[in-house]
Symmetry: C2
DNA sequence: GCATGATACCTCGGATTCCGATGTATTCGT
DNA sequence: ACGAATACATCGGAATCCGAGGTATCATGC
């Protein structure tokens, strides 16, 4: 069920930005949110996410803030991330880039099907 | 214009298989075909493609054959690649995987179509 | 109090992957 | 004979990923 890591590579950053678009989230939450919202197609490991979050913070795309876990939901303090203004710009850029990419890939994997393809015509090259 | 390499990573193999679905092609040709068919969105470097082709051959997904360049179109002999039976199976697998992946990503970046949205209340999830 | 389990953050080593630079070889036009 | 285009190929440095392991907090049961 899960998609190979090969494909997931390079999408962690844009997905993190998208997750933060509407509200603040903490890392552990994101790992589970991605898994849940994609029905297990995308699976993240923490070892991948945390370094990415640190880099995004260093680059000024997200801001981080510690918040106590309010004692009700067990666990240690959480580090909440929010988009900065630059982060929103970056999200826009990455989002547009994804659509360009997906469209380009659609050229090879269908969706559009503007081709009445002969499947076995041996013509062409040769 | 070109999509960042981060995204392209991991799609070289499935795209090669897709390119070979209808006819034999040689490496250099694929590099240019990808560039042309995606209007410059996907750009491959030869340094990336050739090792991938060798690996696909070693794995038995493609078969290679030298052909002379018929003297008309200048250049040295070309190495043509075709899909093996296992290669066709692999193409099917990769193709399905791509669609799963693209659907999952659509969860974050807006689906292209065919979606009667879950329609979360606008203005603030939760 | 203290062991256990759930939550949550974080780092590191080793493996993989990518690509720019570079090299080789063939043919064509001049 | 030379440069340009075509075409295949390799290599080393750089970037990336992730499983494994570690640390810390809180609640519950004993």
């Amino acid at each position: 069920m899960p998609v190979s890591q090969e494909l997931i590579k390079g999408t962690v950053v844009p997905v993190v930005l998208a997750l933060l678009e509407d509200r603040a989230r903490y890392g552990y939450e994101m790992v589970q949110a991605v898994n849940a919202r994609t029905n297990g197609a995308l699976v993240w490991s923490e070892g991948t996410l945390y370094p990415v979050l640190h880099k995004l913070e260093a680059d000024g795309f997200v801001a981080a803030e510690w918040r106590d876990a309010t004692a009700k939901e067990g666990g240690r303090p959480r580090r909440y991330y929010t988009l900065t203004r630059a982060g929103r710009r970056e999200l826009k850029r990455r989002s547009a880039e994804w659509r360009t990419f997906a469209t380009a890939m659609g050229e090879f994997f269908g969706r559009v099907r503007a081709n009445n393809g002969p499947t076995t015509t041996p013509g062409g090259v040769r």
